[in-house]
């Protein structure tokens, strides 16, 4: 017998019931599945970015067997990489000078990474092991609105892996020719409230094999042995607030060669002892789905000890005593006579500079179509150097910036931003605007038009040097009066006529216009992405000339027009990735500074031309790369990359790299062994005749394991 039940059918409510179940709870009954990849966490798609950016993944850096951080930039269209001095790496977008390349902004996790007062970029001592790089974003073109002044030619933003992504342990060891050693180890953990990672890297390299000194092959003391420690952590207080805390130390030696960098008759190599450290914290607040802001504080200290012994002939000491310019050519026979008792002493180019930086950045999403980013920044650069500044001093910079992104119609996004900044190196304020329009043609294509202006202000050393070497431990006894004596640049000028010391330098200016296109082409079995950038830039009042102890001739004296185009393309097939980049740069430059004269009063066109040429040292007309990454059978992965730049002065850079790697996947760990070969296609040294490598084939063997 069946029993009748009361039906609850009548209870079926008036709730609108749809066939589309989006609004109804699903499988995770009564569990709340959080929304993880929210608008605030997602990166902007390339079709919406108001400018051309090249992104290089950490994975690609490893797959191509790139052996030092600076070499990554060979993959960026329009960028070149070279070595100057004692194997000091230099890289830039759109060329200009090779020494003291200071026209790009470089950031590591939002922290400015170039030296504080000698705004030089020291790539050898960068506190970033390549293994912890998540990606590198290169914003090509000036963008002060986002990155402050000195984002002149472009900005490099190195983003390290989030500690939440690196829990576990990893070790990697690489050995190569020319005494190349790289050892990396990291360990980290993740839990409810705290993620952290500690990483260590040793990188050692012998540099070039030999230099040419007096037509003889001479050993080149240009290697380095650097250790870095990094501690990155995130304190997760609640869903609305978390704090990133980072600490790092760099310790080691950067070898410099006495023939290249030894001033005042160096008798020993002026190696640099490096001891840098940084502390950084970023407090991230998310007040709602549409509003978040962060406050960042960072402090960096660059401590460099550079000491070397010198020997000054007696005749030169006499010249000094009699106020005769020691290095002035006409005085050469007088000041550099053989015989007599040389003065030996020790000099130093020690410097310690620090940077204290604050930044507050606020992002407000009014709607899907209207976004406002605003911020404030403040920076204090402190320099301490007996040699470069004869004491200590400070420079201050403060800035206010903002950018509004507005999408009035689905296919058009407009961006308008500006940076207002004031610096004490020139005691002036500057406004750098940037406007961009993105036309979206369908879902996968965009056409952009960008106009931006930026300035680069002279750094503390360019503007206010007080260059002199203090003699210490002077011997023999007859020179004891010179103990503590400061040999100033003014006493030894090479070319007194060309000296510009004391002139007030002004800012360099750039106006950039860009038309660029980005497109994704999905095909049946593959995907193609293509980005083309066409640009026309005017660079005015560029600071050119020589910055040396015995030669100081910098001034705002060169104007440059640059135009050209760049292409970046990638083709991804199953198991195969091909990537190509190419940059064409047409540079027109001319002298536009104060008149320069010879001693006899006639116009010195040679020197004027030299100043112009200096700013073309790295402006290669053609540069590019072609890379292929291929999955091979037996768990192997092969890659090859071809890099070239044509030309640097008189040489063409051409190299092809090969890498073969075997990956092993075991239940508890993954391991990899790999062999990389770098083959220099021509044997001409680049940039300088001293940059010589004996063997055109350089080998590297690596082994790594991850738990």
């Amino acid at each position: 017998m069946s029993v009748l039940f009361s039906s609850t059918i009548a209870e079926v409510a008036a709730q609108p019931l749809l066939d589309e179940p989006e609004q109804i709870g699903f499988y995770g009954f009564n569990d709340e599945i959080p929304e993880v990849l929210t608008t605030t966490r997602l990166r902007q798609p390339k079709t919406r970015v108001p400018g051309t950016t090249t992104v290089i993944d950490g994975e690609m850096i490893r797959d191509l067997g790139i052996m030092s951080l600076v070499e990554v930039f060979r993959l960026v269209p329009g960028m070149v990489v070279a070595e100057v001095g004692s194997s000091t790496p230099v890289t830039t977008y759109h060329g200009t000078v090779h020494y003291e390349q200071r026209r790009m902004q470089v950031l590591v996790d939002g922290r400015t990474a170039h030296r504080a007062t000698l705004s030089d970029m020291d790539w050898q001592t960068m506190p970033v092991p390549m293994e912890i790089i998540e990606r590198i974003e290169v914003s090509r073109g000036p963008n002060s609105a986002a990155y402050g002044i000195n984002a002149f030619l472009g900005t490099i933003n190195i983003i390290t892996r989030n500690p939440a992504d690196t829990s576990g342990a990893e070790v990697r060891v690489i050995r190569g020719t020319r005494n190349y050693t790289r050892t990396f180890a990291s360990v980290g953990d993740v839990n409810e409230s705290y993620d952290w990672r500690l990483a260590y890297e040793k990188r050692k390299f012998g540099g070039f094999d030999y230099q040419i000194e007096d037509d003889e092959r001479t050993p080149f003391n240009d290697g380095h042995d650097i250790n870095t420690f990094n501690y990155d952590s995130r304190l997760k207080v609640n869903s609305r607030f978390n704090a990133d805390i980072r600490v790092g130390v760099v310790d080691g030696v950067n070898e410099e060669d006495r023939y290249k960098n030894g001033e005042l008759g160096a008798t020993g190599d002026p190696n640099i002892d490096v001891r840098d450290y940084y502390l950084q914290t970023q407090l991230n607040f998310t007040t709602s789905q549409s509003h978040f802001f962060h406050f960042q504080v960072s402090f960096e200290n660059y401590d460099r000890r550079q000491r070397w012994p010198i020997s000054i002939p007696e005749s030169a000491v006499d010249c000094l005593a009699n106020d005769v310019l020691v290095f002035h050519r006409p005085n050469q026979s007088l000041c550099f006579q053989p015989g007599g008792t040389p003065l030996t002493a020790e000099v130093n180019a020690d410097s310690e500079d620090s940077r204290l930086e604050f930044e507050l950045q606020d992002t407000f999403l009014f709607s899907d179509d209207l976004k406002l980013v605003t911020g404030l920044g403040f920076r204090k650069d402190t320099y301490r150097s007996e040699t470069f500044f004869n004491g200590r001093g400070n420079n201050y910079q403060s800035r206010v910036f903002g950018n509004i992104e507005y999408t009035p119609i689905t296919w058009l996004t407009l961006n308008g931003g500006g940076n207002w900044e004031r610096t004490t190196t020139t005691d002036e304020g500057y406004f750098s605007p940037r406007v961009a329009a993105n036309f979206r043609l369908g879902n996968n294509h965009a056409l952009r038009f960008v106009y931006s202006k930026a300035v680069r202000t002279p750094d503390g050393f360019e503007q206010n040097p007080d260059y002199g070497f203090t003699l210490k431990n002077v011997s023999p006894g007859k020179y004891s009066a010179y103990e503590g004596y400061r040999v100033e640049s003014t006493a030894i000028w090479n070319n007194p006529n060309l000296v510009t010391l004391g002139r007030d330098l002004e800012e360099e200016r750039i106006i950039s216009r860009e038309i660029s296109y980005f497109g994704l082409f999905p095909l049946k079995n593959s995907q193609i992405s293509l980005e083309v950038r066409v640009f026309k830039d005017k660079l005015r009042d560029m600071i050119s000339g020589v910055i040396k102890f015995d030669d100081w001739s910098i001034d705002n004296n060169v104007d440059i027009d640059q135009k050209g185009f760049e292409v970046e393309a990638a083709l991804e097939y199953p198991g195969t990735t091909i990537r190509a980049s190419y940059g064409y740069l047409d540079q027109d430059d001319w002298y536009n500074g104060a008149q320069i004269y010879y001693d006899d009063g006639s116009i010195n066109n040679h020197e004027k031309q030299y100043n112009v040429e200096l700013l073309g040292r790295l402006s290669a007309m053609h540069s590019g790369s072609l890379a292929l990454i291929q999955n091979l059978p037996f768990g192997l992965k092969g890659s090859t990359a071809y890099y070239w730049a044509d030309r640097f002065r008189n040489s063409r850079f051409e190299r092809i790299d090969f890498r073969l790697a075997k990956r092993i996947f075991q239940p508890r760990y993954s391991a990899e062994v790999a062999l990389t070969v770098q083959h220099y296609i021509n044997d001409e040294p680049d940039i300088s005749t001293d940059n010589n490598i004996e063997d055109q084939n350089q080998l590297f063997l690596e082994a790594g394991i991850r738990f």
Binding site: S2, V3, S7, T8, I9, V12, Q15, L17, D19, P21, I24, G25, F26, Y27, G28, F29, D31, E32, I33, P34, E35, V36, L37, T39, R41, L42, R43, Q44, P45, K46, T47, D57, E59, E134, N162, A164, D165, T166, S167, G168, V190, N443, L520, F521, P522, K524, N525, Q527, S529, E572, Y573, P574, T577, N631, R663, F665, P667, S670, R706, F707
Partner: protein
């Protein structure tokens, strides 16, 4: 004399009423046995109501869909009980070992064992889509993909057995990374992501649950890797896509299964719905610069791949 006839009429009246009642009762009893379907709910009101309405529509007017509680399930005899969710299934089973149950909103690995042991009496429409379809959805979105990363615990590893066997026919390969304890999840995930072109998630609560999904999705995203699955619900969280069986289709098929049960006394074999759709997270796709075809096109591509492979095996 009048009283006597009145009494007679009353007797007849009562007799007629009794006959009618009896008739109705037996008719009712017959109706109860023939066309009543019971429904055991999950407790998630919105979900339950939605499925209930769809079932009613599909069952039509000759059948009654009656909601029962767990205790009432003990007394249903031979009438089929439709359960929503694994919890309801387990409770009903416990209350009544003999009842015929059609389980909805359950995963294959959950129901398979029961369905095999009580073939015909226990059946269900599996929630979600077969893993091979999820894999092909991934391949349709990333045509250049060849390697699929899989993560499981030692006990849930078998979820992927069928899939791994099927993949070679589609020029895909997969590797299973096993996680032994909670602490190992992220390091294992990192290693898996460095192997695979994308991560395929089966409905494995041990690995993919509201507590762990945040870490998994963020880590994958930061490494430019997409996650397919585990189910439609996770797409809103940040999985790039997942196949799903539309509720109306599920209700239709459930009604068919019940029809078969009433006609021949047992259910057809438990299976997935043949029809499926794809839910996609457009925002994540755009952010990763992945060009997306419309969902219908993706389904079409998947169907084509499945058919062309079947064609091959026929030869």
């Amino acid at each position: 004399m009048a009283v006597r006839s009145l009494t007679w009429a009353a007797h007849i009246f009562i007799l007629v009423v009794l006959i009618v009642l009896a008739g109705t009762a037996s008719a009712q009893a017959q109706n109860n046995d023939r066309s009543t379907v019971y429904l055991a709910r999950s407790g998630n009101t919105a979900l339950d109501q939605h499925i209930q309405t769809l079932l009613e529509k599909s069952l039509g007017s000759e059948r009654d869909l009656i909601v029962i509680s767990d205790e009432q399930a003990a007394l249903t005899e031979n009438a089929p009980i439709v359960t929503i969710g694994p919890g309801a299934f387990s409770r009903v089973r416990q209350a009544n070992r003999n009842a015929p149950i059609l389980a909805l909103m359950v995963e294959k690995d959950f129901l398979e064992g029961f369905a095999r042991r009580s073939q015909g009496r226990i059946s269900g429409i599996y929630h979600g889509v077969p893993l091979i379809r999820q894999a092909l959805i991934g391949k349709a979105i990333l045509p250049q993909a060849t390697r699929i990363a899989l993560i499981a615990t030692t006990s849930t590893a078998e979820l992927y057995d069928t899939l791994i066997g099927q993949l070679s026919e589609y020029n895909l390969e997969a590797r299973l990374f096993v996680v032994n304890d909670d602490k190992q999840l992220i390091p294992t995930l990192i290693r898996a992501l460095s192997y695979g072109d994308f991560l395929l998630a089966a409905p494995d609560n041990a690995i993919y649950n509201p507590r762990t999904i945040k870490h998994i999705l963020l880590t994958a995203y930061r490494r430019n890797r997409i996650v397919i699955g585990p189910s439609q619900a996770y797409v809103k969280a940040g999985s790039l896509a997942s196949g799903y069986a539309p509720f109306p289709v599920m209700a239709e098929i459930a009604a068919n299964y019940l029809q078969v049960f009433f006609e021949i006394g047992h259910f057809p074999e438990a299976d997935y719905t043949g029809i499926f759709r794809v839910e996609i997270n457009q925002q994540v796709a755009r952010s990763l610069n992945i060009p997306l075809a419309p969902p219908e096109k993706i389904i079409q591509t998947v169907e084509q791949r499945l058919e062309s492979r079947e064609g091959q095996t026929d030869e």
